[in-house]
């Protein structure tokens, strides 16, 4: 086998990721359902890696959910995105990091449209000027937040307090990685590894000591699909997709699932609860379910951050079995306390999915 040729081909699957000076675009789903994730991301970039990152309170949703649900027009979403570019330009940044995979897909779709149809770009500039009086520059570099963690994975590994290794057996943790469809299936050139070999999460897992499970339905969609989920009667289609993946991964006994898309994290997590309530099924041996983490939460655990500060208690599937395997230190009595130490009360517990109390 000639490795040199393979390396040259693999180079074509890489993307350029900026080194520093980022403008951060938050995610609606991630900051609501997994609020510790973006907090951890900013903490890692600022405190651990010493990067300059602007977390701007003035940006809004990208309206991607409305766009994919056919209630927001393409012209509208292009102008909203143009406003975000204008905010970035005003703050003096040129590299954009996007936290959400849906938004990332939207931004890449819009930039690609403007590249091929300069008249559309001209029109959007006029719309934005008329609506807000703002002007914008197109970003020099655009990256998903997982690209950034991927880029600095070895630096994080060097600072690791815990590794993705089962401390009881000494074996690597068996991890399922799930890449959001809009990360690289639409515009492969914008994803590490392209659409065929997305490597962004696998790279992190391998650097931090874990082992990836290559199961049959690995590249299947989680089933979010916007319209499938937004219309209640259609949610059966959405659950069916996640269920197909769970059934496929179950025989490999995964220790956790890691996703780079907020929607996938939400559905892979919450549908486990739904399936357990509707059919009484759970997908691990002991009835706790398979913990689903965002890559920032995984990075946070590796760096030794407090799991409750990372917001792991906000997930439907609780992560104590995973924490025990990794040997992460945590205080069970602090699980339901806020940042000031006030007890928030216990949530309602699921019927079939076990929860450590």
């Amino acid at each position: 086998m000639k490795l040199e040729g393979k390396k040259r081909i693999w180079d074509d699957y890489q993307k350029e990721i900026a080194d520093n000076n980022y403008y951060f675009q938050r995610s609606c789903i991630r900051q609501n359902f997994f609020p510790g994730s973006e907090h951890a991301f900013l903490k890692i970039l600022k405190n651990e890696l010493g990067k300059d990152i602007c977390d701007d309170e003035h940006h809004t949703t990208c309206t991607g959910i409305g766009y994919h649900a056919d209630v927001v027009l393409f012209e509208t979403i292009m102008t909203v995105v143009a406003r975000h570019f204008a905010l970035m330009t005003e703050k003096g940044y040129e590299n954009m990091i996007i936290s959400c995979v849906t938004s990332f897909g939207i931004y890449t779709e819009i930039l690609e449209t403007w590249k091929h149809f300069p008249d559309v770009l001209k029109k959007v500039r006029q719309h934005l000027k008329k609506a807000t009086g703002r002007e914008f520059e197109i970003p020099k570099n655009i990256a998903h937040a997982s690209d950034i963690i991927f880029k600095f994975r070895e630096e994080i590994a060097a600072r690791a307090k815990y590794r993705l290794i089962n401390r009881n057996t000494g074996e690597p943790l068996k991890i399922v990685e799930h890449i959001g469809c809009h990360y690289s299936k639409m515009f492969p050139v914008h994803g590490v590894g392209g659409a065929e070999f997305p490597y962004v999460l696998q790279g992190m897992v391998e650097s931090w000591g874990g082992q990836i499970i290559d199961y049959p339905e690995r590249r299947h969609c989680c089933g979010f699909g916007f319209r499938q989920y937004l219309v209640k009667a259609n949610r059966g289609y959405s659950v069916a997709n996640s269920k197909k993946k769970f059934e496929s991964m179950k025989p490999y006994k995964p220790d956790m699932i890691v996703c780079n898309c907020p929607g996938c994290t939400m559905f892979m997590d919450k549908w486990q609860y739904t399936i357990s309530e509707m059919e009484g099924k759970t997908y691990d041996e002991n009835g706790f379910g398979i913990p689903v983490l965002t890559y920032e939460e995984m990075a946070g655990l590796v760096l030794g951050y407090n799991p409750w500060e990372l917001g792991l208690q906000m997930h439907e599937v609780q992560s104590e079995p995973l924490l025990d395997k990794m040997g992460v230190a945590y205080h069970p009595d602090e699980k339901y306390k806020d940042a000031a130490g006030n007890y928030l009360g216990e949530p309602a517990f699921p019927t079939n999915l076990k929860v450590c109390v």
Binding site: R235, V239, A240, K243, K244, E277, M278, T351
Partner: protein, 110 residues
Amino acid sequence: MKDFGFTITKDRQIDYDQHDHRLLQFVLENEPSFQACISCGGCTATCSAGNLIDFNIRKLNMLLRRGETEGLEKEINKCMLCGKCMLVCPRGINTRNVILKIKEAIQKFR
């Protein structure tokens, strides 16, 4: 079990590892000519029952080979055993015996 106002859509993927192939094996062992079927549909085209009601021997064959044997009993009872399908089969399969063996297998593996 909780009702969330929607059901989980059943997977239409055919999983050969999960399906019950006992019926097919029984038919193939007891009527080996069935091995030669090319699914041309000649049997269905000439079927007396199929001309009047919703009955399709070719479809039965497909379901049997996929291991999708649910509801087979109801379907198989529509056959009148006239044997016209045997006369047109280009592969000389004893289709009437295939039907009888399916009926027997249903009783055996019920």
